[in-house]
Symmetry: C2
Subunit: 500 residues, 2 copies
Amino acid sequence: MELKEMITKYKDYRDRMKAISYAEYMISWDAETEAPINSVEERSKQIGMLSQMSYEIERSEEYINIVKKLYQELDSLDDLLKIEIKKVHKELMQSLKIPMNELVEYSILLSKAHSTWKDAKLSSNYNIFKDTLKEIIDFNKKMVKYLETEELKGYNVLLDQYEEGMTKDKYDKFFNLLKEEIVPLVKQINSLPNQENKLSNRLFDINKQKVFADYLMKVMCFDKTRGLMKESEHPFTSGFGTSDVRVTNHYYEDLILSSIFSAIHELGHATYEQQCDSKLDETLLTGGTSMAMHESQSRFYENIVGRSYEFWKRHYPVLQNLFTEELKDVTLEDFYKCANYVECSLIRTEADELTYPLHIMVRYEIEKMIIEQDIDVNELPIIWNKLYKEYLGIDVPCDKLGILQDVHWAGGSFGYFPTYALGSAYGAQFLNSMKKDIDFNEALSNDNLQIINDWLKDKVHRFGQTKTPDEILNYATGESFDAKYFVEYLKTKFKNIYNL
Amino acid sequence: MELKEMITKYKDYRDRMKAISYAEYMISWDAETEAPINSVEERSKQIGMLSQMSYEIERSEEYINIVKKLYQELDSLDDLLKIEIKKVHKELMQSLKIPMNELVEYSILLSKAHSTWKDAKLSSNYNIFKDTLKEIIDFNKKMVKYLETEELKGYNVLLDQYEEGMTKDKYDKFFNLLKEEIVPLVKQINSLPNQENKLSNRLFDINKQKVFADYLMKVMCFDKTRGLMKESEHPFTSGFGTSDVRVTNHYYEDLILSSIFSAIHELGHATYEQQCDSKLDETLLTGGTSMAMHESQSRFYENIVGRSYEFWKRHYPVLQNLFTEELKDVTLEDFYKCANYVECSLIRTEADELTYPLHIMVRYEIEKMIIEQDIDVNELPIIWNKLYKEYLGIDVPCDKLGILQDVHWAGGSFGYFPTYALGSAYGAQFLNSMKKDIDFNEALSNDNLQIINDWLKDKVHRFGQTKTPDEILNYATGESFDAKYFVEYLKTKFKNIYNL
């Protein structure tokens, strides 16, 4: 086959798989936001068939051969296709290393694992879940063996899958710095006399919360002609190219901060997606380049922008105007403190900006043991509780509020958690560079987030997946990842809030 | 290939096409109800690829051969598969009769025709559209030639495509009866002194209209675990099997009757879909058996149930309770008259129950001429206007309110319109039989629509597409279609309302 014909063939296969992805995107969006409850069985059947169709293309001899041959001809390809083929080749070669029958068995295991985990969590009974967890762990260890290379061994194989280039050495260095600098700071804040949380035990009308979420879309310059916001049980962002990017939010009458910061967080993800170069839409390179890079953007907007004093100085009057009664005795300073209330709590997803990475550290330590040591699953809750005591100084009263709280391990995700903390740290490193180019605080006080969006578009977003996380960091900040910016940012901010 | 293997192969192909249909169902539901406006281009691209994938299966040599062979072995197939293969074989053989290149050309023509028609309608200028219309007509005449058989010639070919078994002879007999009996009645009512329409020029809060639409879902026993109601520009029903049936509605502040009767109409369609036998879900035989049969159900609920005095005797207090101010001087009798206000108007979709079939008659007469005579497209608006004068006694002031009002011909649909009137007539025939089995009026006054749903489920709905319209009519009413029930129903109802 001529190169030109091979490229055409490749693109045809790719576009077929993309069309099926698009279908899956629509179907799951519908499922998460509005589908009637009893439509689930029909949907599973149809999704099963669509994945099979996509899978058959990806595993067809011709497709595999074309990808291999194009990979040999990388230098003859145009820039975008070159990057795409590299990425596709890497993923395909990895997936071919794992025997088909094992993958099928594993996917059956995972589909059952979800409900087992749910049952275990509901009854706060780790014993229900532990055997399934052991099977999942065993598969992951076996998979690691299949995928190991000269450069990547053990847990590093998994870490690299979620964040290309990140290794145990780098994460260890990062988390050790947090242990040294942030764990003591958290302990210090925790030893202060209890501060009043003025927003607790107040109710906020949900329709007005929605009005404010809509206001936040304007503040963040979200382009509604290319996206929308809806409701779902857990907030999330999904999209297909730059012209269709959707977020969801969730509203609780007694938790106004939840809907506000979920909205800003998801809109942060969405801004990344909407600001990719639209010429990437027809490739496989649109969207965020990695888990941590995506998370860096959502957390940049949620925490660095959204939990700043300057932001609320501008927008708190709008919120107060919506909730005149509810907020009449809550000053801007009170509200700012509530949005940054530090508390050693049990649940990761509800943690504040300062303690959040410590929750991740617990999971990271345990994953290292799980993958690289022969640890007894019976021991895991004990280790979990011990680490929570060590890093956060609290006792875990039950497994529901402990090791059973997250869905990730039940879904077979090991190596994913650390990207959350890494994302926050990337964000602080971007902030440091951004402040050299623009007046960040003025942009916040003047309701001019576009200038921040523009900086991130230029330095991060527009590249989509054409650069690795490390390449983007170097392009945007002039250096590879360095955790010191995050630690400095956290220390300055929270020492200031708590007058330390 | 063994029969068993052939069946397995056939089902695999079918299920692949069904999975793509499911994807298309989800994508178009999204497009009609919430997709961001600038997502249209990406969506078109992906839909294009999905249709191509489905088309490739349907036109693959192996699939065609399997369908042909299974058709030869009909007697060895189980009952459901036998019916399905008959249907699939008929449609496939028909579509194979039309040369591929002509179908492609035609689909390009139709995709352009839609916007040409829209432009023409917007500027009320038939000249913009007439050449395109001529091309569409020419294709349809050519297609008729390809599809003609010993039994079916000319317009009958098209009529049969929308309603199996219906011919020009049968429709002529039906419409002639309407000409004899209904045209004079409409003229008689029209000559009465003008009646006041008490609902005109009043505004009704849209959120309260939505509350009432939700109430109607309960009244009609719509199963929300297997469906939902949303908004769209034009109300419609769509679904996939019995477990996922969705309707939309549209709300105008100044037209409360519009949202009420659109809701009942679409919920009528939905009841048909939800009440099919769920064992048909995995076949191609779920859903309504024909256009007219589907329309018979929506119109049965909208007009025969929803515009009855007994229905409103029960439910008008609920509506009045929602709109205490707006309806305080509107009695039940006033409201009933408004819901059945007869008016010789220009727009089909806004026509009342009595004049509606006359709008269809105009289109039917013109389609007969278009397909079977060599009519000059320049003449069509003149003929249109002449027939409106003849049947409805009104002058058509411009083509926007005349021949350009409907999208159907621009979409290449000839033979579709008559099913609308036929549907209403089927409904009256069902009513006649239903009344022998249940106390219809008592079911309405007692808010017990389930008893009506049950009758229709047993006699019509559960069969899905396993019976032809004629078989269903015979099963449910003991005879083939007879228009006399419709004419009697209309005469009795409207003579009573207008004291004639």
